[in-house]
Symmetry: C2
Subunit: 404 residues, 2 copies
């Protein structure tokens, strides 16, 4: 039986408890939006203050050498590598996810110059669709947007690049990465995965993938707008062309040469100078994943989301669970459809349960294994039940823009 | 006569003295590299700490609304507008300068679809040349790299876009922005200026320019890797296509629509989520320019650079001033050629005078009117003279990479 004691027992036995303890969360808040903005690891403020006051304030320009700001992006990439299941030396960090995707797919297209179709799906995050659309327009390629369940059938020898997001930001549906990668590559396509709603919460094995991108600020807790990352399979590193060449991608950036000679390694996918304060926060935040197997993250994510779905089924009325009920087919958030989603979420936030809303009618609840307590599941459903029973949501003030 | 008392008198009479007092500089350092990384304004650490601990740590995802992170980039743009001499509502902030340039020139090319030449010069900063090269390759346009003094003569009716950096990062030579803009536009070209080595130090009037970009971390003191800015003339705002479309450029980003509809205003040139910590530092740092006329910055810059050149002429041997001697033809840094530039700069940094080196043989000394004391000029030349007389530079350890 799922009672409070059950969740407290899970927390007491949680092998990730030492990781959970590294986060700072406000009293009285059940935070179920780590899939949108991860919370603050407790050690990060001191790191950022040191970078601002000592490195920038006292070291001034000499900190580019003395504190190795030049290589910070690559060091962050190496911290990320085990979290996304790729080898060291393959991940660069910087820019926004949208730009990382533009670069990755642009470089991928260059590997298949004889083909002219980018395939994606309608469940992709809007910015991915927009970036792919503008890239297709710029280089004169066709963009095909299939329904998520039709992607596999749409793969054929015309496809240059298959670009998908692993976990659907709305429904939580997870693509079968291994199967789609294999079938696309068998058809001669290059595969680019967006891991925004996976990395830091799921077991990931990108061994077969050609490229991957993702953001730093969701399950990775890198801070608001933390820079993005970009993985390139080692076999492509030395031959791809970055569509946006900048001096950070040059083989000898400080030689200040007039002609562009690309770096041999993952630096080739960099562009310009990166925001060091945000990058340093991301770097520090990643320490919470040190030594943690991504299988342990996924195991906890499955437990959290399964228990939540079960409690929703048992105790709530009027909500439709639209996230797949098979754990292997979903990511680490659960979406509930309800016609009054925005008003309900506004009331929940007032009551201390923070999730978010995606149009037109979805309440999203993220369960981030790194900082979530199992008892959060119990408390969240308790509060949802109360808010619905007492009708608090009917008086909730719904902002014009996003609820959270 | 230029003695120490003369410089102390200038400092005592400096109308920018209250601005100078807002910066925190280490004891014993004469900082002449604000043209590479501006120093820390004293109030910035508290602002950043508040964003990290209270806004991110306590507000969590609700801070996107509560602390208006969604509009921070535009508010930073409006703080910047008077500093670069453009109207409010025309500047977006985000990404790196290289990406800002790629977007601006890409959008500019779209305004001249019947033309196919981008004109730039060999004095441009390398990353600008690389970005222009990759853009030209991607869209099938020709990139012409003229010598700086031949740009004017090279302008003709084949040119789609003229893309230049206002002040040469090596020599300090300043292009005649008004004349080149006028002649390029008369020939039907669109003009894109890079203000990296101008903004925050010079009087700027971009009224006639079509686009401008620049970085936040030099004379604008926004912190290491602070985001870039992008100005679009109001007449182009509603008609241009951003070559990298992302959700922050959408007319209704939170509607999460599948199709891209560009925002009407300067937001159209945004891409993805911006690094809020770095952006907040930049935002706060710009407060030091509040109420300051850029003419006052340029007047002080001319005095600082003129006095430095005069002292170099009077007191130093073996250095060639390669920066134009007419104040109106240079920016706010002075470059001295010397065959032992790297060793000399290494010795200067050890002695507390921080400038930098550009290959193969240039010592660069930046004079940033916002924080520079006039007496810095005197002290710097004193130290250079001593280092040369005593031969300290002969024993200096020169790093393999950049000296500073």
């Amino acid at each position: 039986m799922l009672d409070r004691a059950y969740f407290e027992r899970l927390d007491a036995e949680d092998p990730l408890a030492p990781t959970v303890a590294r986060f700072r969360l406000p009293e009285g808040v059940v935070y179920l939006d780590g899939n949108s903005l991860g919370p603050l690891p407790a050690h990060v403020p001191d790191v950022v203050a040191d970078v601002v006051e000592r490195q920038w304030g006292e070291g001034l320009v000499t900190s580019w050498n003395r504190h190795a700001w030049w290589t910070l992006a690559s060091r962050v990439g190496d911290k990320l590598a085990p979290v996304i299941g790729v080898p060291l030396g393959t991940v660069s960090v910087g820019d926004s996810t949208t730009i990382a995707l533009y670069k990755a797919v642009g470089a991928a297209l260059g590997l298949r110059p004889e083909r002219s179709v980018i395939l994606t799906d309608s469940g992709n995050f809007p910015t991915d669709l927009y970036a792919l659309g503008s890239l297709a327009r710029t280089v004169g390629t066709e963009l095909v947007v299939a329904e998520p369940e039709e992607v596999a059938a749409r793969i054929d020898s015309t496809i240059a690049v298959l670009s998908l997001t692993h976990v659907d930001y709305r429904t939580g549906r997870r693509h079968d990465m291994a199967a789609l990668t294999e079938s696309a590559q068998a058809a001669g396509a290059v595969v680019v995965w967006d891991l925004c709603h996976s990395a830091g919460a799921l077991r990931l094995d990108l061994t077969a993938a050609d490229f991957a991108v993702g953001c730093g600020y969701k399950y990775l807790n890198g801070g608001p707008g933390a820079p993005a990352y970009l993985y390139v399979h080692p076999q492509h590193q030395g031959i791809i062309q970055n569509p946006i060449s900048g001096w950070w991608a040059h083989a000898r950036p400080f030689a200040m040469e007039q002609d562009f000679t690309p770096a041999a390694g993952r630096e080739r996918m960099q562009v310009g100078t990166q925001p060091i304060l945000s990058l340093a926060a991301f770097d520090a935040a990643l320490d919470v994943f040190s030594g943690i197997a991504t299988a342990a993250l996924e195991e906890k994510a499955r437990r959290l989301t399964s228990d939540f779905i079960r409690l929703v089924d048992e105790r709530l009325e009027g909500f439709e669970v639209i996230t797949p009920r098979r754990a292997g087919e979903r990511g680490s958030h659960v979406s509930l459809a309800h016609p009054e989603a925005s008003a309900i979420m506004a009331a929940l936030v007032s009551a201390g349960v923070i999730g978010d809303v995606r149009p037109p009618n979805l309440l999203r609840f993220g369960f981030a294994p790194a900082f979530q307590r199992h008892v959060d599941v119990w408390e969240a459903v308790d509060v949802i039940e109360t808010v619905m029973d007492e009708g608090q949501w009917r008086e909730a003030e719904v902002p014009a823009g996003p609820v959270t």
